[in-house]
């Protein structure tokens, strides 16, 4: 099953490239010129994005280094324990909403300390897939728009985050 997934994932980008360029050639379009034109637009857009990116990175990094998360950890740990979530997952659960790369580093450490096939280790892996970098995504996506009120995006992101945490732990108990 997962080898089928793997095959699809590996094939996706090359196949798409082939499809698009093949279609272009078949339609006798100037594919090379169109490609160059598109790249130029893309690079321009990338430069336009830089200020927003900078703001988001700065904000998230400030939160991370401040140690606000580790203070929160002390607060949250007993609560998580009470509802049956292994406490080794606490750092991961708290860091994940703010930082994708940071939470991967934490996942690596967690796997080393609890073992990848243990209950907590498996739950940590699933959690990394099912829980998303909510603040990062909301901040980054809206940064390129003129939107000031994000409405229900943030609450839904956080509610689903909690569902994702519980889902990961519950499914590890049964599968």
């Amino acid at each position: 099953m997962s080898s089928v997934f793997q095959w699809i994932s590996v094939m996706f980008v090359p196949a798409l490239c082939l499809g698009i360029i093949g279609y272009g050639v078949w339609k006798k379009a100037p594919v090379y010129d169109l490609f160059i034109e598109g790249v130029r637009e893309g690079l321009e857009a990338a430069v336009m994005m830089l200020p927003f990116l900078m703001a988001i990175f700065l904000g998230l990094e400030t939160l991370k280094t401040s140690g606000a998360l580790s203070s929160l950890e002390l607060l949250v740990r007993p609560v998580l324990n009470a509802v049956g979530i292994p406490e080794q997952l606490t750092p991961l659960i708290l860091l994940r909403p703010v930082s994708g790369s940071g939470s991967l580093a934490v996942l690596e450490e967690t796997l080393k300390s609890v073992g990848p096939d243990s209950f907590a280790g498996r739950a940590a892996c699933i959690l990394s897939g099912s829980c998303e970098t909510v603040f990062y995504v909301v901040g980054m996506y809206f940064s390129v728009t003129s939107v000031k009120k994000v409405r229900h995006c943030l609450p839904i992101g956080l509610i689903c985050y909690v569902i994702g945490v519980f889902g990961a732990v519950i499914i590890c108990k049964y599968m």
């Binding site: 990338a46 991967l104 699933i126 995504v137 000031k148 409405r151």
Partner: protein, 194 residues
Amino acid sequence: MNYIWAGMMVTGILFSTVNGTIGQMSQSMMESCEEAIYFLLGMAGVMGMWSGLMNIAQKTGLVHRMCNLLRPMTRQLFPQVRSEETISAIVMSFATNLMGVGNSSTIFALKAMERLDEENGGRPVASDAMCMFLVMNMYMVQLLPMTVLKLRNDAGSAAPESIVIPAAIVEIVTMAAAMVLCHICEKMGGKERA
């Protein structure tokens, strides 16, 4: 956005004075700015490639065909979105996300958000379509979590792939929850659309 950003900065700085981490603060702030540039450099390459390819697809009419094909689905999810360029960015973002090509997905997502913003007339309140797109893309199922599998392998797991199926199940659940919640909020938040 203003509040979220200010909130992050202020909480961070205040907490660091309490926790005694203020010493590292100025350095890590500078580093994060540097990191943003590196991140963008990496992104810019991928962004250029995709935008080049998509330009071919668009000018040759391939995008038009794809949109016609997917219209029934996108009309359900994003009833107000008409523009083909927007729909293609949305669809490409979902597809790359599903395949686990994270960076590419972000690029299409940002493109889609820009387009949706334009359709929203640059208003300061997020449109229904923006919210639906964001929560769906955020909780999009990923067929094969490559990075996690690699980490499991490195940590000496006996069966690295054993988490693929359970993870997919949980992801489907969270995604469904996200869509349903979003739909409910759309129905309730009618007055905010003004």
